[in-house]
């Protein structure tokens, strides 16, 4: 009888923890993906009364056992897409996605246009004064003769 009472008491003591909702999201994981909607900065770096209120709402939703996506969906449904720190998938915010792509495409197009011209550029013509024949070009007969004479002077 005594053992049965102890077992019953033990079950009652454990019951609240067994019934408690297990959190499925971490607060920090959600906080940095939500905006403070009055400060226009992510919630994890916001310091205002409204930010604190949003944190309380998130903690409440976590305590209800909602996952991160469910919490974000709940906030988005109530306050609109601007509540999320990730760029919106419509309107002007789309610029966040298409501007970098457009810049890369423009750079590739520029390279594609300029590269053939750069590779087909004429070789250097030897400078303004014409004295330097440049690499791979034959000396004229007079230049070769002058070179031979100059070198001869340094023969030891």
């Amino acid at each position: 009888m005594r053992a049965a009472v102890i077992a019953l008491l033990a079950m009652l003591a454990l019951a609240p923890s067994a019934l408690a909702v297990q959190p499925k999201a971490s607060f920090n994981d959600v906080e940095d993906e939500v905006m403070c909607d009055t400060c226009n900065v992510p919630l994890n770096i916001a310091d205002s009364d409204r930010a604190e209120q949003e944190r309380q709402v998130i903690r409440k939703l976590i305590a209800q056992g909602l996952t991160k996506d469910q919490i974000k969906d709940r906030l988005k449904a109530q306050y609109g897409p601007a509540i999320l720190a990730t760029p919106q998938d419509s309107g002007f915010s789309l610029a966040v996605w298409w501007v970098p792509v457009a810049v890369v495409v423009a750079l590739l197009a520029l390279i594609a246009a300029l590269l053939p011209r750069w590779r087909n550029r004429p070789p250097p013509d030897g400078g303004d004064d014409g004295d330097d024949p440049g690499p791979g070009r034959e000396l004229s007969a007079s230049d070769a003769r002058r070179l031979e004479q100059d070198l001869a002077r340094y023969d030891v």
């Binding site: 009055t38 205002s48 009364d49 409204r50 604190e52 209120q53 949003e54 709402v57 109530q78 501007v99």
Partner: protein, 165 residues
């Protein structure tokens, strides 16, 4: 660079309503047909439904300290208006509904409040900061506005003017 300029320009406060009221033009209240849910979500209401009444439209939030300070002033205005068929109409701005309801209870506010969670109404009034108050006459025109904590003096004069038009 052009995107940056656009972003800055797009974020500028809309003051067209202010200048119209300042010139005494009595502009039509924006967003009259916008229907917003009540704080408990049980019904919806729009400004159009209040046509024929003097309305003190007040944007507020429970997290806004000046909103707490002005709450008694608005409640006094509600008592004054109620006797003549008018009303204060609160509209919450970026506020948790539960916290809004607690605020109403805590300050014993008897006037109705609607939720503008998705900002369907506030931007039409150029409201980006709290609190802000707009006094509308019986024909739904903006007679006076106060950006910031509303004063007893402002409300008394604005309501008298709205009732006299």
């Amino acid at each position: 660079m052009s995107l940056l300029v656009y972003g800055v320009v797009a974020r500028r406060d809309d003051t067209s309503l202010d200048s119209a009221v300042k010139k005494g033009q009595l502009p039509a209240a924006p967003g009259s047909s916008v229907s917003l849910p009540t704080l408990d979500g049980s019904a919806r209401q729009s400004l159009a439904a209040l046509r024929g009444k003097v309305v003190v439209l007040n944007f507020w939030a429970s997290w806004c300290p000046p909103c707490q300070d002005e709450a008694p002033v608005l409640e006094r205005a509600q008592r004054k208006l109620a006797s003549s068929g008018g009303t204060v109409l609160g509209v919450t701005y970026k506020d948790d509904a539960g916290a809004s309801r607690d605020f109403m209870r805590q300050h014993k506010l008897s006037y109705p409040s609607l939720r503008d969670d998705r900002l369907d109404l506030a931007p039409k009034y150029g409201t980006t900061k709290l609190p802000e108050t707009f006094v509308l006459d019986r024909r739904g025109r903006v007679v006076a506005l106060s950006r910031g904590e509303v004063s007893q003096d402002f409300l008394t004069h604005a309501i008298d003017r709205a009732q006299s038009i």
